[in-house]
Point group: C2
Chain length 193, copies 2
DNA sequence: AACTGCTGTGAATTGTTCTTCACAGAATAC
DNA sequence: GTATTCTGTGAAGAACAATTCACAGCAGTT
């Protein structure tokens, strides 16, 4: 139908391909050589939560179905199935993907443009080493003459919720801020290597 | 002297702290409990190539020194040393850091602002799945009416050397482009989790 | 030789982000 | 209570990024 596809001969291979690629949907048989479909499902959801999984099985039982859905499968189809059945499921799940993608795309834009600015990166780094700082403290540390410049960037960082401010006006990293910063470190190491 | 410091009781701990932090310099004793200084040096250079290492030892031998420098240590100091000796070494190495930082900072700015744009990210994604594409092929796939818009972004990506173009005018990802893209995937998963 | 589609360039325009500056209320120091 | 420092707002403009448009060379077709 024009979809781009890729196949894996085992659960292990599926996991590997998923890790290095960017898949919308995985079609997974419950009975597979090596790692079971259920196990694979669990792993897959862990390493790539955005990839939707459709389980397929010849031995459909309620238990298996419930288990699969609980583990995060998006659909569950019993063999033998009409090809149209599968296509319907794929279309439905793809729509789901597109919707979620729209949402996270916004976040990604936001986050990346936050990180694109060196002053903001320096602020994040400062907060990482000091844990919590006041405005003027940072201004002096960053050696910037106009404090409103720093205020501007702090506002941006607050809006993308990488930092927050307590009642005492102190700024600190949010959990997300910390995660992003560690990812930034990885990136930096990639670049300098 | 106003430097921010942190300590580790073993090589293993040092590696862990380095992985999660952002250190300019590590002072490493050759004789340590558990992992040896030489081993630690190797690991450290692997996970954080930008962190400079100064080796310190009570049993200075030429072999050890040569080995350390070969493995990427920036300096090698024998005990007992005058504190001023150490400080001089630190200052020299720090200067080295500042210089390199200036260089990679440029790259980081470049790369991040490349990734900040959704069109450019889509181009990268396309190239990841298709391996190699021509201009108009992408234009149609991206559903953009003005092809010069795509040309503009392709130019940017070429400049930050995330993609390149062969004689046949086909565009494809560079090694760096692939690495950055996989890092982007990690980031995306962080955000959607 | 004329036509079509591809791959661009360069200039003008629009749009966004960043900086600067004038100002002001709240907290703290004297 | 007055001065000073801190924390911020909002508007104007500068700097930078992205889009649009007119055009042009080249390759292949008819």
């Amino acid at each position: 139908m024009g979809y781009q596809t890729n196949e894996a001969a085992s659960g292990k291979e599926a996991i590997e391909k998923t890790a290095s690629g960017d898949f919308d949907i995985a079609l997974l048989d419950l009975m597979m050589p090596g790692m079971s479909g259920a196990e694979t499902l669990g792993e897959l959801r862990k390493i790539s939560p955005k990839t939707k999984v459709i389980m397929i099985t010849a031995f459909a039982t309620v238990d298996n179905a419930v288990d699969a859905i609980k583990k995060g499968a998006s659909d569950y189809i019993a063999k033998p199935f009409k090809i149209e059945e599968l296509l319907t499921a794929i279309r439905r799940v793809l729509e789901e993907c597109r919707f979620e993608e729209g949402i996270t795309k916004l976040n990604l834009d936001y986050t990346l443009s936050s990180l694109a600015n060196p002053i903001r990166r320096n602020i994040l780094k400062l907060l990482q080493s000091r844990k919590s700082m006041r405005l003027m403290e940072m201004v002096r540390e960053l050696d910037i003459d106009d404090h409103t410049k720093v205020v501007f960037h702090l506002k941006m960082l607050k809006e993308s919720s990488l930092i927050n401010q307590d009642k005492g006006k102190s700024y600190s990293l949010t959990g997300e801020g910390e995660r992003i910063l560690s990812c930034l470190n990885i990136l930096k190491n990639y670049l300098s290597a």
